[in-house]
């Protein structure tokens, strides 16, 4: 145990004090923040010119109701002649000419746009949307129904289903959509760190073999301790990075983002954050079910329980896969050789993501339940199942299986490492890998 501690500390120090680690750890959140505000900034500072479109309206009903905005300006040409306008338009830097036929209400296709330069999807959509609305309103008017708009609004309905666990004293309302979303996000975080840090573990062991220090260590340290120390050391580095990123992102969104965002945009963002717009959102068709689900998981005790469980699964999943990467690192001499062996490792992760989408439909279907027990898929599948509320024994069993498999995997990696040491310069075959296991 003492040796595991020593190895963890060494591994941790070596990685955390590296310049590249410090730089990526500090710069990544900055980069993320920049990426998140970039579209807004681009929209603000790099706005395109307003495009002027001449409108020749033979029907006499459309042109006057077309609304100009920042992007498009409609200029009605009364009694205009199309050919003359087109000629005239070429000499200006107008965008083009919109021709609306006389029978637009009965024949909605009788509308043409002539452009001087290439057209754009945005402009075409704006025009068709506006004209559609105008024509629809015109057609409704023809039917002579009074207050039709109000009637339609009164008919519209949006149902929010509140679900309760039967037999539980405190009714914990939960929305499977929202909780699966949390699960998917955490699953991706887990996947992201596995891909980065799994190969760090692998590299670390390959380096160990190439630096030839292993011959010294193998006569000093049990291979199991060695593997465990390396995996936990790298896990500690990953945890450090997550924590630093978390803190930096919070700090940055509190300080840096307001500094570079223009005031008016910030104000509207703050308004949304304050929840002032929820009713407005509901009115404008935002999924109110989602909003109430979000409110329901604001219950702190419930959140704490779920977060702790998810962390247990996330850490367990990380450790198990790190151990698998360690086993690969132990069985090859060079990073290139490891490439073909890492592919099988990532397959269960991808499979688990497919299962995770099935959790949304039914968190208790047999396939989902099984996959939440099998250690290779359980960390990700459980991310989706836990928020939907499942029996405690299932969670406990799954955790025990996950961590037990982790220990076995470390032991296995240690074995491979121990026996594979003196295979320098020789690629192992799967047959040989099997032989080593039997030692």
């Amino acid at each position: 145990m003492k040796n595991i501690g020593l190895i963890i500390v060494r591994e941790f120090k070596e990685r955390v004090y590296k310049k590249s680690f410090i730089i990526t750890t500090l710069l990544m959140p900055l980069l993320l923040a920049l990426i998140s505000v970039a579209p807004t900034l681009i929209m603000i500072y790099a706005k395109g010119d307003t495009k002027q479109i001449s409108v020749i309206d033979n029907s006499g009903i459309v042109a006057e109701r077309l609304q100009s905005d920042e992007d498009i300006k409609f200029v009605t040409i009364p009694d205009g002649d199309l050919q003359a306008e087109l000629k005239k338009s070429l000499e200006t830097d107008d965008f083009g000419v919109l021709y609306i036929g006389e029978d637009i209400v009965t024949n909605p296709n009788n509308i043409q746009l002539y452009t001087n330069s290439s057209s754009s999807m945005l402009i075409e959509d704006t025009i068709t949307d506006q004209v559609e609305e105008i024509v629809e309103a015109e057609r409704l008017k023809a039917r002579n129904i009074e207050d039709l708009k109000q009637i339609l609004e009164q008919i519209e309905v949006d149902i929010t289903l509140s679900t309760f666990r039967n037999g539980e004293e405190q009714s914990t309302a939960s929305s499977s959509a929202a909780s699966s979303l949390v699960g998917i996000i955490l699953g991706f975080v887990l996947y992201f760190f596995l891909v980065i840090y799994g190969s760090v573990v692998m590299q670390s062991i390959i380096e160990e073999k190439n630096s030839r220090i292993l011959e010294v260590l193998v006569s000093t340290v049990r291979p199991f301790d060695m593997m465990m120390g390396k995996i936990l050391g790298v896990a500690a580095v990953a945890a450090t990075q997550i924590i630093v990123w978390g803190v930096l992102i919070v700090v940055m969104s509190a300080l840096v983002v307001p500094a570079i965002m223009p005031d008016d945009i910030l104000a509207s963002v703050e308004a949304v954050q304050a929840g002032a717009d929820i009713s407005a959102m509901a009115a404008s068709g935002v999924d109110t079910g989602m909003v109430t689900a979000m409110a329901s998981i604001m219950d702190t005790a419930y959140i704490a329980k779920i977060v702790v469980l998810l962390l247990v699964f996330m850490i367990g999943g990380f450790l198990l896969y790190a151990a698998m990467y360690a086993a690969i690192g132990a069985s090859v001499d060079e990073a290139q050789d490891a490439q073909q062996l890492t592919t099988p490792v990532t397959i269960p992760i991808i499979f688990a993501f497919i299962i995770l989408t099935m959790v949304m439909n039914d968190p208790n279907s047999p396939l989902v339940v099984w996959c939440s027990m099998i250690p290779f898929t359980s960390p990700i599948v459980m991310m989706g199942r836990i928020p939907s509320g499942i029996p405690t024994w299932e969670i406990v069993l799954s955790i025990v299986l996950l961590y037990a498999t982790f220990i076995v995997m470390v032991w296995l990696a240690g074995k491979i490492y121990r026996v594979g040491i003196f295979m320098h310069g020789k690629k192992p075959t799967f047959k040989e890998l099997y032989k080593w296991l039997k030692y």
């Binding site: 060494r10 630096s211 030839r212 220090i213 011959e215 010294v216 000093t220 003196f422 030692y439």
Partner: protein, 308 residues
Amino acid sequence: MSNIITAQHITKRFTGHTALDDVSVEIPAGSVYGLLGPNGAGKTTLIRVINRITIPDEGQVFFENRPITQQDIYRIGYLPEERGLYKKMKVGEQALFLARLKGLSRHEALVRLKQWFIRFGIEDWWNKKVEDLSKGMAQKIQFIVTVLHTPKLLIFDEPFSGFDPINANLLKEEILRLRDEGATVIFSTHNMSSVEEICDHITLINKSKNILSGRVDDIRRSHGNNIFAVNYRGEADAFTSVTECCDVLESEYDKFSGMTSAKIHINQDDDVRSVISAINEQVELRSFTEIIPSMNDIFIRAVNGNLK
């Protein structure tokens, strides 16, 4: 004297060749034991079998007359031929890490490391990175780390390679000092002069087989070719002409001192005493010494298959 290590009938095959073929060695406690042999003979494999890095296909290793266990390994200090240290780590930090892995407390490790660093005159290396050290320098560090926890048995694989003569001497002195303090030392080498100077026992391995084993003195004596150096007053032919009991291989007369030095060969079954008295009757004999072959000669002859 009891044996600290007994290896019996060790056979180890790799794909395509046999590294060790029925090799047995007995290593007495408190000795300095040399494993000799040309490159690729199987010395390193034997060392790895002894300290349980490699599992032999056949045969068994005993530590203090019990089958060796993993626990015993932690009482062995092993300096592999492939020197390896973490390149990015600082010397002191790394030495401390390795010492503590071997069970020393932080304090104890610091005290001992300081002593060793002073002894080797390398105190100012403490904060250097390993990648900035030369091969020989790194090797010194590794030597210190190997012996720091005062293990009962020390195994050095080619300890002198990469050292200049001064440092090689330093190393020899340290090996002898460690033996005097009670450790048993096994080392492999093809540096024959070091063998004569510091080894008590040797095993010569060639082509995966143990071809010669025993005390260094006994081996050298038993492989003498009955050649003697004779020193007498008088001209070179003074005794060449009179004696028929031996062949004179070479002789040289020094006219200033009036002395002759000669090398003679005595037939195996002749009595050395009668030869001496025969010579003594003819000339004024000043000295008569057996010329014992060097380990280097024995090594080359043994490897070429010309031994006896």
